[in-house]
């Protein structure tokens, strides 16, 4: 994605947005409501035209011929309510260019993977919302897409369904398919994604691998647990106490490797039960950058 811009009327929803989705990796796309996530995804899929910038794949701009190789799960779910589940998935597969036999085979395999086989002949509208959601995932995957774009794939799923869907998606990603999904459930993203893109008010606030982001946004903050009272840490030079509770201290150091001096000091005073950098959660990074 290079310098993508899009406005609705005078409202600039995306402003020169650029980021990469790498093959074989799950990329989490985070942002508050109205930050431009869905608009961005629609542009990637060609549902909306960008007012500037290009969407490229394998080094060249995505053509109309390539788009059907993408798998898309829109935020606002919808399939034909009165069509039977298997029939509908097969039809969508054929619409994406599969022949009838392949589409049928893929449908059966996917429904089995998503534990929906016994509902294959039911009309979509007769399924529970959670199951409809799984059918929606199947609809996005039936043509073995080369790229997966999923808008809030986990909303509305119970924890078991989340696991099932996660498995299915991980399998695709490890097969080399780039997966971009948006979510507001930060815990899920944290557990699942390799890369993170955070968008805020139409601009990219942060992006990179999960570890890079943590390192970038991690403060030089450490946690120390000793056997006795840790109050002495307070008196060390170049150290600022964040939290102090009996044997446990959380502190920040002002110089590089300043924490090593603290550790040496602690070992000199007695047993050290724990010593570790405090890694920021995605939640904290998210709050920090937007």
């Amino acid at each position: 994605m290079t310098s993508i811009s899009r406005s609705f009327g005078d409202n600039r929803v995306l402003d020169e947005v650029s980021f990469d989705v790498r093959p074989g990796r799950m990329t989490g796309f985070l942002g508050a409501n109205g930050s431009g996530k869905t608009t961005m995804m629609r542009i990637i899929l060609g549902v909306l035209a960008p007012h500037g910038g290009t969407v490229s794949w394998n080094g060249s701009p995505v053509s109309a011929e390539q788009r059907p190789m993408f798998g898309y799960m829109p935020e606002e779910r919808g399939l034909y309510p009165k069509m039977k589940v298997a029939e509908q998935i097969t039809w969508l597969g054929r619409l994406h260019g599969l022949d009838r036999v392949t589409a049928k085979g893929n449908t059966d395999r996917l429904l089995a993977e998503l534990e929906l086989t016994e509902r294959a002949g039911a009309k979509l509208e007769s399924l529970s919302l959670g199951n409809q959601q799984r059918v929606q995932i199947a609809a996005a995957l039936v043509h073995d897409p080369a790229v997966l774009i999923l808008d809030e794939p986990f909303s509305g799923l119970d924890p078991i369904a989340v696991e099932i869907v996660l498995d299915v998606l991980r399998k695709r990603a490890s097969g080399g398919v780039p997966v971009l999904f948006s979510s507001h459930q930060l815990a899920v993203v944290e557990q699942l994604c390799d890369d993170v893109v955070i968008i805020s008010k139409g601009v990219i606030a942060a992006s990179g691998s999960r570890e890079e982001l943590r390192a970038e946004h991690g403060t030089s903050r450490f946690e120390l647990v000793v056997s006795a009272d840790a109050g002495w840490v307070r008196d060390l030079p170049g150290v600022r106490i964040v939290e102090l509770d009996g044997p446990r201290a959380v502190f920040e150091v002002s110089s590089p490797d300043g924490e090593q001096a603290v550790l040496a000091d602690a070992l000199g005073r007695g047993a050290v039960r724990a010593f570790s950098p405090v890694v920021p959660t995605l939640d904290e990074i998210f709050k920090e950058v937007i």
């Binding site: 919808g78 309510p81 969508l92 996005a140």
Partner: protein
């Protein structure tokens, strides 16, 4: 894996539309009703129409009704005759005229309206010489016009299924997946194709059933006259239907919810009802019928009717069909632009002008 070609995408969409529609009960019910209606229209008049009018005759009036095409019940006096008329057991009473006003010496007593069939049976009709006899008598012509116009109306209404299916796609938002997969024009083309094929199938079945119905109705001689008109009616109806189908699709694309459909269907509805009533009301007015047979929307009914009554030459029909075809192309192109522009606007109703501008 490669992208489905425009043609195969169109066909897939058409196939789905047909599959879904033929599985609804409503489709079969309306189809059956149409067939039953066709048979009823042709067969029933011969079943019920054949009876002679029943009259009561008093005294010397009996001789006046003798040998006429009437079923006579002789009653003793005027009071008894009037009683039978009032109780609706007879259509009229024929009584001796005492005033001398009547040439044939009888008066006719009826309840509300002058009983034309009784009167014409009593009076010897003068011989008629036609200078330019019409190929079809006016009663038959009325029936045929009614049948043609009714089919047009029925199928025009059937086109509402296109609007329904478009709105369903917008309302359920599956349209986002569809649009990201196939060209919007293929979506529109597929919808029109699917419904045209279904409608054409129905027209063919009805066109085949019509001769059978006519034979059953003992109107074999009418068959010879209707057959060529049916031949004209089928292609005109199909073209007319494509025209309406494109309008319906746009009507569906302009709204986001099933409930709002009524507000955009008005124009399409008018274009279906207009020709129907126009041809019904002005079937005797040669000038209006000529105009109607060239105006694209009403041409689909008016031109086959004119061919049927022998008022139009073959070149006129071909010209009108050409005009219709050109209009179809223009409207379908315009519709596909509006359709593209409004399909992804999923909030409320989209104005026609806005949809037109929005196509990018």
């Amino acid at each position: 894996m490669s992208r489905a070609s425009f043609a195969s995408a169109t066909w897939l969409v058409a196939e789905r539309e047909m599959n879904v529609l033929v599985r609804t009960k409503g489709f079969w019910i309306s189809f059956l009703v149409t067939i039953v209606g066709l048979f009823a229209l042709v067969v029933l008049p011969t079943v019920f129409g054949g009876d002679k009018p029943v009259v009561a005759a008093v005294g010397s009036a009996a001789s006046a009704v003798e040998g006429k095409d009437l079923e006579v019940r002789t009653v003793p006096d005027l009071a008894a005759a009037e009683a039978l008329v009032r109780s609706d057991e007879v259509e009229a009473a024929v009584v001796p005229d005492t005033t001398g006003e009547s040439d044939i010496g009888v008066r006719v007593v009826a309840l509300n309206d002058p009983p034309d069939d009784v009167i014409s049976a009593l009076v010897a009709a003068p011989p008629v010489d036609l200078l330019d006899p019409s190929a079809v008598n006016s009663g038959v012509r009325q029936v045929v016009i009614l049948v043609f116009a009714l089919f047009f109306l029925l199928f025009g209404m059937g086109g509402a299924a296109i609007a329904q299916s478009t709105v369903t796609e917008k309302q359920t938002r599956i349209v986002e997946i569809l649009v990201s997969t196939v060209p919007i024009r293929a979506l529109l083309a597929g919808k029109i194709l699917g419904h045209v094929l279904l409608t054409m199938g129905q027209v063919v079945v009805l066109a085949l059933a019509a001769p059978i119905a006519l034979r059953l109705g003992d109107q074999g001689e009418l068959l010879a006259v209707v057959a060529p008109a049916l031949g004209w009616f089928v292609p005109f109806l199909c073209l007319g239907f494509v025209l309406l189908a494109a309008m319906w699709a746009v009507a569906g694309a302009l709204v986001s919810r099933q409930e709002d459909l009524g507000s955009t269907m008005g124009l399409a509805m008018l274009l279906v009802m207009g020709p129907y009533f126009g041809v019904q009301f002005f079937s005797d007015n040669a000038v209006v019928m000529t105009v109607l047979s060239y105006v694209p929307f009403s041409a689909a009914v008016a031109m086959p009717v004119r061919m049927f009554t022998g008022d139009a030459a073959v070149w006129e029909a071909l010209l009108s069909m050409g005009l219709l075809a050109v209009t179809v192309v223009a409207i379908v192109l315009g519709a596909s632009r509006v359709y593209s522009g409004s399909l992804l606007q999923t909030s409320g109703k989209v104005g026609l002008a806005k949809a037109w501008r929005h196509a990018d």
